[in-house]
């Protein structure tokens, strides 16, 4: 399969892809986008606008009003003047009138919100929030804790508990996670592995999609440029496809290795002291496995993308014919992402041993929980076998497809191609 001609095709692919501006741009921009995207999301979530927030907190009883005032006045956002809060005490009837008066201010956003804390909140902790924007989660996050504390203080303050008792009651439960595995000592688990799992899955997803589309475009271009028949007078379709796939796979591997460099540096050196919360429990073998798994996945999917490219003779048709391949990437991606919330789920366990799914689910699982060596080898074997099968299958479709132009073939025709003697 690999000979001098495949090598020549591979070299051309490398020259075209690895040394292209697009490659450099993508390699350095993707991490920027990724972290930028995360940062942007966090920013948008926490951004409360240019102006300050004006709140009217109305309580039914002066006791609650006092507690709220005491609680809020300590908060930094109040001290800095970001939040301007007025505290009022009213019964329900007066509050209704007050709300009517404030309506204009709320609509013109002179007043961000009116919060009504009825006495019944001491039983059911239900408070009312009136605003032009009633689903302001970032604001809720900021004030929920303080209101809760104030209510707890009022509630227990009547019942002769010590302030320590009250402090204890106010606290939520905090999980300190420890990872238990066969080989290692019990380690304290942080968010680090979750972040790594998410990043790896995302990189895998993105890389397969990006390189696959690139591959498909290049096959379609060779068809529309009419260059493919000239090429086939020198190389066999198998040599051509292998050369293209190997060239693109190497490009992808180099790109992935560049992206993983920071992770390798964090894991293998002590240059970066991560806070305990973000400890990453990965080793060199896992990274190596990830790269190998990526390579296998890449070759598998490049074969699929190449055959989709060969079936159609323009980019638009090819894009619309891509959905079966897209499903094979998207579904495993979502499963892998959802593993973060429950790494031990049986779905994760099963799909990490199913062809195509395994490529994305297994690395995500491995970075979150301990996976037995047998399972790892099993998934490796399954993926390799899938790759070989896909290569044979894609080779056939590719061989028939690249010389066909004109009418868009139906899926049933494509299935017939598999039986053709070409």
């Amino acid at each position: 399969m690999f000979n001098q001609k495949t090598f020549a095709v591979m070299k051309r692919e490398l020259r075209e892809k690895l040394l292209s501006k697009t490659f450099l741009l993508m390699t350095f921009l993707i991490p920027v986008f990724m972290f930028g995207g995360l940062a942007l999301q966090t920013f948008v979530m926490s951004y409360s606008g240019n102006g300050d927030t004006f709140l009217s907190i109305v309580s039914e009883t002066p006791k609650i009003t006092n507690e709220l005032q005491k609680e809020f006045s300590d908060k930094p956002f109040v001290k800095k003047g970001k939040f301007v809060i007025s505290y009022l005490t009213m019964n329900k009837e007066t509050f209704k009138k007050f709300l009517n008066q404030s309506r204009q201010d709320l609509i013109s956003e002179k007043l961000t919100a009116v919060i009504y804390v009825p006495e019944s909140a001491l039983k059911d902790k239900k408070v009312e929030y009136y605003s032009k924007n009633p689903n302001n989660n970032s604001l809720f996050e900021k004030i929920r804790g303080s209101i809760n504390t104030a209510l707890i203080d009022v509630y227990f303050g009547n019942k002769y508990f010590s302030s320590d008792d009250i402090r204890f009651a106010r606290e939520g439960v905090d999980f300190n996670s420890f990872r238990v595995s066969k080989q290692k000592e019990i380690e304290k688990e942080g968010y680090g592995n979750m972040v790594v799992s998410f990043l790896l899955t995302f990189l895998l997803y993105f890389s397969l999609l990006f390189l696959g589309t690139m591959m498909m475009r290049s096959v379609v271009a060779e068809k529309t440029n009419r260059i493919v028949e000239v090429l086939l007078s020198s190389v066999s379709s198998n040599e051509l496809m292998s050369g293209k796939i190997i060239g693109t796979a190497i490009t992808g591997l180099v790109q992935m290795a560049i992206w993983l460099l920071p992770l390798v540096a964090v894991v293998s050196t002590s240059w970066f002291a991560l806070p305990e919360k973000f400890t990453i429990s990965m080793n060199g073998w896992q990274i190596l496995y990830f790269l190998l798994n990526f390579l296998i996945g890449l070759v598998t999917f490049l074969g699929l993308f190449a055959s989709v490219g060969a079936i159609f003779d323009n980019d638009q048709d090819a894009q619309s014919g891509l959905w079966p391949v897209m499903l094979l990437i998207m579904i495993p991606f979502f499963i892998a992402i959802s593993l973060v919330s429950n790494p031990g789920s049986p779905i994760g366990k099963i799909t990490s041993l199913i062809p195509f799914f395994s490529l994305m689910v297994m690395p995500a699982r491995m970075s979150l929980v301990d996976v037995s060596l047998l399972e790892i080898l099993g998934s490796l074997f399954i993926n390799l076998a899938t790759m070989i099968l896909i290569f044979m299958f894609a080779g056939k479709i590719y061989r028939v497809g690249i010389l066909r132009t004109g009418k868009k073939p139906s899926w049933s025709e494509v299935v017939k191609w598999l039986k053709y003697k070409y």
Partner: protein, 365 residues
């Protein structure tokens, strides 16, 4: 016909070299054998046997090739031979099966049945290194530079190194493109792109040059250029095979032809033999004056007006003299009277029929 010639030592007086020996008929072959056996007897010495080489009269033999696409039988049991050192034309209408046949000869398609024999052995992928192929639908990588393109295609044929670079530069100079060697293909004019395409076809010095409808889409300058390349390669002893629907062109260039219609080979052999076989009762006439009186003559089988000339077929070969006499008697001014001459187009019509739509497709300038 004898196809396998001889097994011999390469240093015998003929200076036989693989692919250079041109034997087109059995007479030449017999003479050569006689000469060879004489030398063999005279110089019965061990040092004459250096290499064992098989020499074939036929460079390529196409044997019973068939290929179907679904229900469509594109090529149906096609057989023909391409002699060494010849220009061979595969002739037929559009859609007759020429491209499919050529693709099978190139090992781009696998035949459903049949085989292609290259100098005695079943052809495999290695044939691709010895052939320069110019498909009807051709193209180059638009973003690649001229020199890169040439070297890449040579590398795909297994040729690299200084020699290829020099040869590429020679060709570029000859085609007045040397100053464009670092330009991108997309920056060249269409005509210049075609020139680059020709160079990629012949740069690796192939023994076989296969051209599928080579003149479609070429401007007059490049048509001439390609004709010159074909003739030059023939004098170098290369085998040139092309497919065309242009009968007139095939007639002027080919030594051998095969006619294909609806996937079947309906005629094949040397152009000379074919024309003499089909031309015995035919006269090609160029004249001035009215010849409509010929229509009533019982010995005339068919009259066909080709514009510049008229093709007339008599019922028996001896009647061409009667025809000449009749024309003179009727005071027709004869500019050319060519007995035993028939155009390839006429032969084709005779064999493949002459439906109206086919007329339009066929060009017979």
């Amino acid at each position: 016909m004898l196809t396998r010639v001889i097994k011999c030592g390469a240093q015998i007086p003929f200076e036989l070299k693989f692919g250079k020996l041109i034997v087109t008929d059995t007479g030449t072959l017999r003479n050569m054998l006689r000469q060879f056996s004489k030398d063999f007897v005279l110089n019965n010495d061990i040092h004459f046997y250096i290499n064992l080489i098989w020499i074939y009269m036929f460079a390529l033999e196409v044997k019973n090739l068939s290929k179907s696409f679904g229900n469509l039988k594109a090529v149906d049991n096609a057989s023909f031979e391409v002699p060494e050192g010849s220009i061979f034309g595969l002739i037929g209408r559009n859609g007759a099966g020429k491209t499919t046949t050529i693709r099978m000869m190139m090992n781009i398609y696998m035949p459903d049945s049949g085989e292609v024999v290259l100098r005695g052995a079943t052809m495999g992928q290695e044939f691709k290194d010895h052939v320069g192929y110019l498909p009807e639908e051709r193209g180059l990588y638009k973003k690649m530079k001229v020199m890169e393109t040439l070297l890449y295609f040579a590398e795909l044929k297994g040729k690299t190194g200084k020699e290829i670079v020099e040869r590429a530069e020679d060709y570029l100079e000859r085609f007045e493109l040397l100053d464009r060697k670092t330009s991108k293909i997309e920056d060249l004019s269409k005509g210049n792109q075609q020139k680059i395409q020709f160079i990629t076809t012949i740069l690796h010095d192939p023994d076989f040059i296969i051209l599928d409808e080579p003149f479609s889409g070429l401007d007059p300058i490049n048509t001439n250029l390609l004709k010159n390349i074909i003739i030059e390669k023939k004098t170098e002893g290369k085998v040139i095979i092309f497919s065309t629907h242009l009968m007139d062109f095939a007639e002027r260039m080919c030594d051998y032809i095969a006619m294909i219609d609806e996937g079947k080979i309906i005629l094949n052999g040397s152009l000379k033999d074919i024309k003499s076989k089909y031309g015995q009762r035919n006269v090609s006439l160029t004249h001035e004056g009215d010849i409509s009186f010929l229509n009533s003559q019982p010995f005339i089988e068919k009259i066909e007006d080709f514009g510049n000339s008229t093709g007339i077929r008599v019922k028996e070969a001896s009647q061409t003299q009667d025809l000449l006499k009749l024309l003179i008697d009727h005071n027709v001014k004869i500019k050319k009277f060519d007995a035993n001459d028939i155009s390839l187009y006429e032969i084709f019509l005779e064999l493949a029929g002459s439906e109206e739509e086919h007329h339009k497709e066929l060009s017979h300038v």
